[in-house]
Symmetry: C2
Subunit: 347 residues, 2 copies
């Protein structure tokens, strides 16, 4: 066991503060990582404040982790001390169900183990995330990270990147496709970059005119101000694919109308109120609404390699560990372009 500095929420109502936790000594297949950067995901805030009602306190958030390997177990074959490594949203799964066998560990039938607020499969306790100096995980749940890109820009790929990459790949988005991206936050800005890199024509759908210039800088070819009927009318029946990254309540039907025949809207955000969908809105035009959850380990590595090859990283604002509570407040206001990343050397 080794004592590790961390930042934790002790209750739903208190700010995150410095805390100390025990990490296990590396087991034969474990990799120990000194964390260099950790991205700040909206899920971190939801969990720290127990907004999903399932938080076990104290909680150490953070599942966009990059760092350097400091020790490996005797049987580790994939990593060596000194190499860069990453950990995303999950650190274990049953490895036996059909989904796990297909590399879809995120859909593990027996429940994946989240990087924080998860229950270790061996009963050894709760998982603690990346707002800490060090982490230990089974090598199968650790990713290879390139040294050719800035590490702080890579960190958010482990959640925001894979969450948007996976549905674009699964629904085979590519050249000739018209893609709408709804919402320009941490997920949306990765959606724009990735869809554009895959050859699609990308349109940012936003109710905020101020996002137009930014969206185009990120690679969007078009911009539609959703509050302006003059702009939404021409995109009726237009999109083959809409990547819906919004997790605030909104009317899905407004965007279903923008789908072409056979069009698919994939939701990666989960609004608090269930969407109300008349079947007619799907029947007319053979449309689909789908959901997608992060990605499995093989696809996450594929995404990291793809981003390295295409020189894609997240646009980030690096903060100190002590600035996390302020960062949460700014995140709630959408005041971040487009992801906060904690420089863990500041802890």
């Amino acid at each position: 066991m080794s004592k590790t500095k961390a930042y934790a929420a002790q209750t739903a109502a208190t700010p995150l503060e410095e805390w100390s936790l025990e990490r296990r000594a590396p087991k034969p297949h474990d990799v120990q990582i000194e964390i260099l950067y950790c991205g700040v995901c909206h899920s971190d805030l939801h969990t720290a404040r127990n907004e999903w009602g399932n938080t076990i306190f104290p909680v150490v958030p953070g599942h966009e982790i990059v760092g350097r390997v400091t020790a490996v177990g005797d049987h580790v074959s994939k990593f060596k001390v000194g190499q860069l490594a990453g950990i995303g949203c999950l650190v274990d799964s049953c490895r036996e169900c059909d989904n796990c066998k297909e590399g879809l560990e995120q859909y593990c039938s027996n429940g994946m183990v989240g990087t924080y607020n998860g229950q270790e499969k061996d009963g050894s306790g709760i998982t603690y995330g990346g707002y800490s100096k060090q982490i230990v995980a089974h090598e199968d749940f650790v990713l290879h990270i390139t040294d050719k890109q800035p590490l702080e820009g890579i960190a958010p790929l482990l959640c925001a990147g894979i969450t948007t990459y996976s549905p674009l790949k699964h629904w085979k988005v590519g050249k000739g496709d018209k893609v709408g991206v709804l919402g320009l936050g941490g997920l949306g800005h990765m959606g724009v970059k990735l869809a554009a890199s895959m050859g699609a024509e990308v349109t940012m759908l936003s109710h905020s005119p101020s996002k137009e210039a930014d969206a185009k800088k990120l690679g969007a070819h078009k911009f539609v101000l959703t509050s302006d009927k003059g702009q939404t009318k021409p995109v009726k029946g237009y999109f083959d694919f809409i990547l819906n990254t919004v997790s605030a309540d909104h009317d899905y039907n407004f965007y279903l109308r923008m789908l072409s025949t056979n069009g698919v809207m994939v939701c990666v955000g989960a609004p608090p109120t269930p969407a109300k969908i008349p079947a007619f809105n799907l029947i007319g035009g053979r449309k689909s609404i789908a959901g997608s959850n992060i990605g499995g380990l093989p696809e996450t590595q594929e995404m990291l390699d793809y981003c390295a090859e295409h020189n894609i990283v997240s646009d980030v604002e690096v903060i100190k560990m002590s600035e996390i509570n302020e960062a949460y407040e700014r995140m709630l206001k959408g005041d971040v372009k487009y992801r906060f990343v904690i420089d863990m050397s500041t802890l």
Copy 2:
């Protein structure tokens, strides 16, 4: 023009009664058909009673039409006098939009022309359906009908058949797939027959124990009584595809739980109340809800040929024209196995 006996609803509140309408003389590309049988679809009842609020009275329902060609226009190349012919849910479309060019006339961007209660594209008036002795339509919207199967069993293929065939084909249902069919009515019984013929393992999902024997006779391999937790629990995450034929209000989420990872539920019925769907129910397992509307002309012919080859027809109860109002009442009670078909010689 030729006077044609028909059955029409004169208002939403009155029963259907004998009426007389004018059919146009065949134009160069038109086929004139003496109607032998016409299936009775639930849409007929919805329209006769103006339940969708868009009925133009008097209305002559009926869009599951089979008969014999009695005259053809000078330029008709596909049909000869004396041949069998069929007409389904649409008799025209714009023929110019991308959907029409792809043979997806049912999704015509400019609006298909329904076989009844539709507006003729040339402004000549309202379309009248198959509860009549004769009909005239452009040859491109007329189907070839085999003389190897009973005509009364073929008629419902033109709507109930294609409505279930099209999504099964579009989502590539076949051998090795686990298919749930929800609802055992006109659509559901065709869904069971077709999915089984395609090699899928078919499970009937019903809240009525009395449907089990019937479903199995139709080709279902399994039956799940949806009111029995002991039966629904084992099918959690089980189905690759659910064909949802129910148009009464019901909880979609109950059935989404039965979908496997990547599973799709396709709705061909449209309940009056919009479904409430939390995004989490789609995100967990990358599930989809989709809709599907009948089929285009090429696919409808493909389906008729497929059914002829696989010896599939609808299970029907033949009625006299004068029994139509009683048939509507019985249909509302689900008291039909599984489609009423009018013997038009009784008019």
